[in-house]
Symmetry: C2
């Protein structure tokens, strides 16, 4: 579904100050509350907004180390590996990607030493042929959506 400038501004507002709620958002956007309400409903039912889950910081939970692991999978072992990785709490995210049947996963750990334990657990299944890990040092651009929303909303400008 496409979004217009009003949707875009609403999303920006909610992204920057999630606490404000529909009423305050409508005030800031200069529209009636019903309008903001129906726009928000449309964004939710249209799947643009999946939800308002809490944004949890793994570092504050005691897992300050993040890493990305690229996994090479043996032919046909994909499903087993997926299930295995889904069972590891430190695997925050898993993608299958183009290339030689590869997967990319995001890991966290309590320390660099602990990362070894996590990796051992990750690769502790037969289907994985090879794993290469890159430890994250800095995160100059944390996961963000506003610039994309702005671009999506501003296409078809006058």
């Amino acid at each position: 579904m496409g979004i217009d400038r009003l949707d875009g501004r609403l999303l920006e507002l909610l992204a920057e100050e999630p606490r404000i709620g529909v009423l305050e958002a409508s005030r800031r956007l200069g529209v009636a509350r019903g309008t903001a309400q129906s726009r928000l409903d449309r964004l939710k039912s249209g799947g643009v907004i999946r939800g308002f889950g809490p944004d949890v910081d793994p570092a504050a939970l005691g897992y300050p180390v993040t890493a990305f692991a690229t996994l090479e999978i043996r032919q046909g072992q994909g499903p087993g590996v997926r299930a295995h990785l889904a069972g590891v709490p430190e695997v925050l995210e898993l993608h299958t990607t183009t290339g030689s049947g590869d997967m990319l996963c995001r890991l966290v750990a309590r320390s660099n030493a602990d990362l070894q334990r996590v990796i051992d657990r990750v690769v502790g299944i037969d289907g994985i042929v090879r794993a290469s890990t890159a430890i994250v040092m800095e995160n100059p651009v944390p996961l963000r959506i506003v610039p994309l929303v702005r671009q999506a909303a501003g296409e078809g400008l006058p």
Copy 2:
């Protein structure tokens, strides 16, 4: 900061049904509202909960293609490249990683064809020596936090 089982269950509840609010959460947890309130305040001020931003689906915005690009950076060009990538809306996330001064970024695009445009824009700066891209096909484990929360909360069990 550490979290105990009550914090953990509170986080789980909020992660699974963000709409419920403090009052309903306290009811389900079987504790007084004040308790849930103060736990939530502590989690927020302790940085465990960064916020409650809307979870926006890039696909629903018209960007169904996700890719990860590994970038090799020329010595000393890091800051310039960071700034360049921060200016590209389709770059949702950027990490600097161990390895030969590399970076890893998450990209989205309108189509596989459009991805070419995005990549051209990403690598359209001098500091990048080489880029290799992996297109995401499936996402068996979407970004998740509950299993980790459960583990963090359950350490020191009786």
